[in-house]
């Protein structure tokens, strides 16, 4: 047997391996590019880009908790124009598919960003962030219900022919319903999940740690929660699922594949080991080799098939449907 096939496709994006970076943890690839050759990645998902520059939230922005981090960065980014001018041309030459994560306060903003990115070479896909918890007072995301996810997805779909991924918030009553709304809106894939809303209280000052009170929890602490979300979503939609949530090792990644993820994104794991993505790619290859499995695609959803009367299966009520 030759070397196992690690390639996967997400929409029109052909990735040499199923490991990408999670938005907001990898900037625009500059910093990690000092440490390793980022062309070894399956894809780079950029820091969230908004129409106008954003300064971000006042510090503190980070708070470590057992096995996780709470963050309240607040979408600090240089804005679309600077992204197109300063980041996209360089990224286009890096030899890796680039997926721009985009964020807005209104559907119109998402559409404007998407159409302005249409002609930008090197940006092969868009990940729409309908779920960043830090941009509104009280942490209320822009689109937490299936109807608004459908609305923004279908509008952006009309604005761009590029591969469209919808990043789902786990802070909803029924994530499978929002995933189906994204699929029906024309998304090529969903990424699952963004951070879980949490908070921390400073017991010395007797006040919330974060000025915005709620913050996004990431890291190994959320892995079992994210895995369950991926399982439910993969059972509910036919489009590929990108698994995200505390993935720090190849074994973590394999768990997500078996639950139904076609690819994975590494976020907090990059902070612990800056070369985590490379280690995970190598580990996935070894996992497949050791078991004589031909392709990583053969792992996708395998654990779902192992469960009789699949609890999260496709037969589940589609009551959250938007149409």
């Amino acid at each position: 047997m030759g070397s196992p096939d690690l390639s996967v496709s997400i929409g029109a994006i052909r990735m040499k391996n199923p490991v990408m970076t999670a938005s907001g943890t990898f900037g625009f690839g500059r910093e990690y590019g000092r440490i390793f050759d980022i062309s070894a990645l399956g894809a780079v998902v950029t820091k969230g880009v908004t129409l106008e520059p954003r300064a971000g939230n006042p510090p503190p922005r980070l708070w470590e908790v057992p096995c996780g981090i709470l963050n309240s960065i607040g979408l600090q980014n240089p804005g679309l124009e600077a992204f197109i001018r300063d980041e996209a041309p360089r990224l286009a030459g890096c030899g890796v598919p680039v997926i721009a994560n985009i964020s807005g306060d209104t559907t119109a903003e998402f559409c404007e960003i998407a159409s302005r990115l249409e002609e930008v070479p090197g940006v092969e896909g868009l990940e729409i962030n309908v779920s960043c918890p830090n941009i509104h007072a009280g942490g209320q995301p822009f689109a937490s219900d299936p109807e608004s996810v459908y609305r923004v997805t279908s509008s952006v779909r009309r604005a761009t022919p590029k591969t469209l991924i919808v990043k789902l918030s786990p802070n909803v009553a029924n994530i499978a319903a929002t995933a189906r709304a994204a699929e029906m809106g024309g998304a090529d894939a969903v990424s699952c999940v963004n951070t879980y809303l949490g908070m921390a209280t400073d017991t010395v000052r007797m006040r919330p740690v974060f000025p915005r009170v709620f913050a996004g929890l990431s890291g190994p602490a959320i892995k079992p929660l994210a895995l369950r979300a991926v399982w439910e979503v993969a059972a509910a939609v036919g489009i590929p699922v990108v698994g995200i949530g505390g993935i720090c090792s190849a074994r973590d990644a394999v768990e997500f594949f078996l639950a139904g993820a076609r690819a994975v994104a590494v976020g907090t794991g990059n902070f612990i080991s800056p070369t985590a993505c490379l280690e995970i790619v190598a580990g996935i290859r070894s996992y497949l080799e050791e078991r004589g499995i031909r392709a990583v695609a053969d792992l996708v959803g395998r654990a779902q098939g192992a469960v009789s009367g699949n609890a999260g299966g496709a037969g589940q009520a589609r009551s959250g449907c938007t149409q």
């Binding site: 907001g24 943890t25 990898f26 900037g27 500059r30 910093e31 990690y32 590019g33 000092r34 440490i35 390793f36 050759d37 820091k47 520059p53 954003r54 300064a55 971000g56 006042p58 510090p59 503190p60 922005r61 980070l62 708070w63 470590e64 057992p66 096995c67 996780g68 981090i69 963050n71 960065i73 600090q76 890291g219 190994p220 602490a221 720090c248 907090t268 990059n270 902070f271 612990i272 080991s273 800056p274 070369t275």
Partner: protein, 288 residues
Amino acid sequence: MERGPSDAAASASVVLDNRQVGPGCFEMHLANEHVAGCAAPGQFVHVRVPTATADPLLRRPLSVCLAEPSGGVFTVLYQVVGKGTTMLSALRPGESLDVLGPLGRGFEMPPSGGSGGGRAGAGRAAVVAGGLGIAPLIMLSHALVRAKVGFSFIVGARASHLLVGLDLLPPHEDARLCQVHVVTEDGSVGRQGLVTDTLGDLLVRGDVTCVYACGPAGMLREVARLGEAFRVPVQVSLEQRMACGLGACLGCAVRARGTESGEHPAYLRVCADGPVFRAEEVDLDGIA
């Protein structure tokens, strides 16, 4: 500043020595040719706490306190404040530590004093260390001595037993080059008072041309205020909770000063834009 892929790498460092030098304060010597060879004064390393679990999760930033390129050894001074540093303090010689670095922007050196180093009238640097803030300033002091820049090293703590790292300062037999002022709040050793009292005296005397400082936020604010009052440039080394350490995650932000009113405040990254800043670059009122 763009740098090549090789200048910040995660690599294993062997612990040569890790001993307690004060209450909760430890001095660790690590073998790492890369860090020892290229660390500049004010830079830091991002160390992974050796644990089989994901707790503690994040790396811990530690200032490089000394680096000996020839021996391939560098030194850190750290205080045990939580779970991560407690685990670091338990490391024994021969054990290995995953070190990323050197990272960040270090101190800008003043113009060299020339061969007659530190002669009267040429002006001197003032180096102000509060408590464990001495760590990055030790390496700076060695660099100042090598550059023959005369300086006054003002080091203070609440009490004598909290003064650490003094033995790591360069030998200062030449008082014109390096003059050490010890200050304690309780007067148990040296002058009684605050380091900023001594800095104020030196500034009044008028031969200080630049100031370097690291220590508690209140001390840094006062040093910056004095620098502004006496029109002497001040560089401060800051700390902030940090995740990636590389400038990617934007977690260690501090508010920039001098952004136009009405505009959104801009933020600087302690890990990549700092940890050393010119005092006028950052809003020191906003730091904890």
